[in-house]
Symmetry: C2
Subunit: 391 residues, 2 copies
């Protein structure tokens, strides 16, 4: 196979999302050295832009040389020592994964579960935090497996009940929904590049508060991962410029350009764009007669969970969307496998054209399986966009 023969897909699944051509061009810039003064300048700019997007002044803000899951592991291996107690809110794949990774760091994990597709019960989380003493409270801001968005505002107070560090997964929120680490008192956060930043997968932005850095500096044991040890990686990203591992140069080019695009648009405008198009998609899906299992107050704008009707073969729909329309949407995960779709509107891919293309193609694939549509989905989507003040 020649890579150049691959088709252009419209990526409306849970990520990767469509990548801006400017970012693709940046990836193809000739490689320079990881200690080249110009590359070090680029890293400084990357840190500044990441701080802006994360809403933080944290100096320990950088891009881990791995995907989002490497970012999760980076936060946990650096903050946890064997025997530490960790509290995690779990209502999907990524909360579950947080527990698993924390256990592999030797943590004693307490999970507060909520049904998949629903937001966490903050009263239950608060009660658990009060009942025990924990080093860290972990919450997934935007559960990519279910399309649930959590309110960050109450979490600091809940973490304080247990005198815990507050640790947040921002994989599917960063760049699409406000995260504001400093305003929310978040001590550690990570994201991926392939969601609302619209860069290919491969890097994980992370940020640590001064309090988290202090906890890392007072560790009694070495970080179990050498590759992800922030005390070492941070000396390359920091003023010391000590070689640790060879940075993924071209991926960092791509992230640099992706962040420039984010900041050119401006965060408030970008968040509003995600909100508006998500509402339009929801209106169109409803007109198609489909159910959105996540209640409207907890819906994650960049990713919408859609219940597949009982008599429809959901995998066939996805297969045909891909083969006939070059359109990728996601299936359900875990308890939602075979029962739901996940439709992403992230970053560059969060456009009216994509909303309309997706609704039309989905409508046609459903009709093929005998689904009768009560309303006109594209009319409903366009009406929603008009109401919310779009052009």
């Amino acid at each position: 196979m020649e890579v150049s023969s691959l088709p252009h897909r419209t990526l409306m699944g849970p990520g990767p999302s469509d990548v801006d051509p400017r970012v693709l061009r940046a990836l193809a810039q000739p490689t320079i050295g990881h200690l080249d003064p110009l590359f070090l300048q680029l890293m400084d700019e990357l840190r500044e832009m990441l701080q802006h997007v994360f809403g933080t002044k944290n100096s320990t803000t950088l891009a881990v040389s791995g995907t989002g899951s490497a970012g999760m592991e980076t936060c946990l291996v650096n903050l946890i020592e064997p025997g530490d107690r960790v509290l995690v809110g779990v209502n999907g794949v990524f909360g579950t994964r947080m527990c698993e990774v924390a256990r592999r760091c030797g943590a004693e994990v307490t999970a507060v579960d909520a049904p998949w597709g629903q937001a966490l019960d903050y009263d239950a989380l608060r009660a658990a935090a009060k009942a025990g003493s924990f080093k860290l409270l972990g919450v997934v801001h935007a559960e990519t497996s279910t399309g649930v968005l959590h309110d960050l505002a109450p979490l600091r107070a809940i973490a304080d009940e247990a005198s815990a560090l507050l640790f947040v997964d921002c994989v599917t929120s960063l760049g699409g929904v406000a995260v504001d680490l400093d305003a929310h008192g978040i001590d550690a956060a990570y994201s991926g590049t392939q969601k609302c930043l619209s860069c290919p997968p491969g890097l994980s932005p992370v940020s640590f508060s001064p309090r988290a850095v202090d906890v890392m500096q007072r560790r009694k044991t070495k970080v179990q991962s050498w590759y992800l040890d922030v005390s070492l990686v941070g000396q390359y990203w920091g003023k010391e410029r000590v070689y640790h591992h060879t940075a993924p140069i071209n991926m960092l080019y791509g992230l640099h350009e992706a962040l420039r695009i984010v900041l050119e648009e401006g965060l408030p405008a970008r968040f509003e764009r995600h909100r508006r198009h998500s509402a339009a998609l929801a209106a169109g899906l409803t007109a198609l007669g489909l159910e959105l299992p996540v209640e409207s107050g907890a819906r994650l704008p960049p990713l919408t969970l859609v219940a597949a009707p009982p008599n429809v073969d959901e995998a066939r729909v996805r297969r045909e969307l891909l083969s006939e329309h070059n359109l990728e949407i996601g299936g359900g995960l875990g308890s939602l496998a075979g029962k739901a779709w996940r439709i992403g509107l992230m970053g560059s891919g969060c456009t009216e054209a994509n909303v309309i293309q997706c609704l039309n193609a989905l409508s046609a694939m459903l009709a093929r399986q005998g689904w009768s549509t009560p309303g006109d989905p594209t009319d409903a989507a366009r009406a929603s966009l008009r109401e919310s003040g779009g052009a």
Copy 2:
């Protein structure tokens, strides 16, 4: 800064190396999904090409979503359990790193040291292997910090003295020097993409023998890294296609194209090209009056260690080569810092033009610092190429 404004450098350091424009174009191919059937086909082809380049039939051959050091850590976290005894040959940064990573996995490490810039003493290694019982023997095939190449042929017998798995770092050899895992009885190996494969940094090819896979399957403890757990990552690369983490799509495009280029040239021709140009560089450097501290039988063709003359400011030479000639060479590491250069001839960058450019530029920078050159370096390099049958 705009990424597009970065200058084109000639990369003749210890890596990253110059990247072929075909690979850069592949990186810029629009992203598709990590579960797209076409992407899965590309991964199958990647595995086949990696098997070819590694010289192995190992089905557990894949590219780790991190740089070469993540590959080292992948091998060690998967093969080592707390309390295991590990024997490592150490004569540079990467042997030292192997010990450190193994200790963080809970291993009891025995190091057999040799002076930096010299090959390991295989008699000492054999004596240590005989004296103890070890789960794993680790050796760096090509020590990037010193430019020393080890003979792989005797290592299996040495590992057998201790009934140990044989683990080899092929970061700066894969694609430039024969590694032939199966012929040498190597159980685990890793490399990087940014050396003789001439792809940007960001991925680490790894391969595990059936015996190593058996050891992993019989673990009593979970692998401490979730991100690098081969029992999980392997289910995504294998027939199961179980989602683990979002693959670094565009980097894998780049590696796919880089491996196609390697196999189009053919491994024997590629190894011979590295050998010839390295010999020409050595002839030119000798004509310049410079000393090559590594004895000729142990020299690593892709990377040449050069002693900086005592009265020359070696860092100034590197700085001026970069700023005036857009040419990057490397400095010394560890005990060689400030005393040596490392000149790479890797993959696409291993050409007569680069040899000549480097010799001319280095000659000019040395002359500026008062170094008088006994011979004509480019004549010597060209004569060497003619003798070895070049065009």
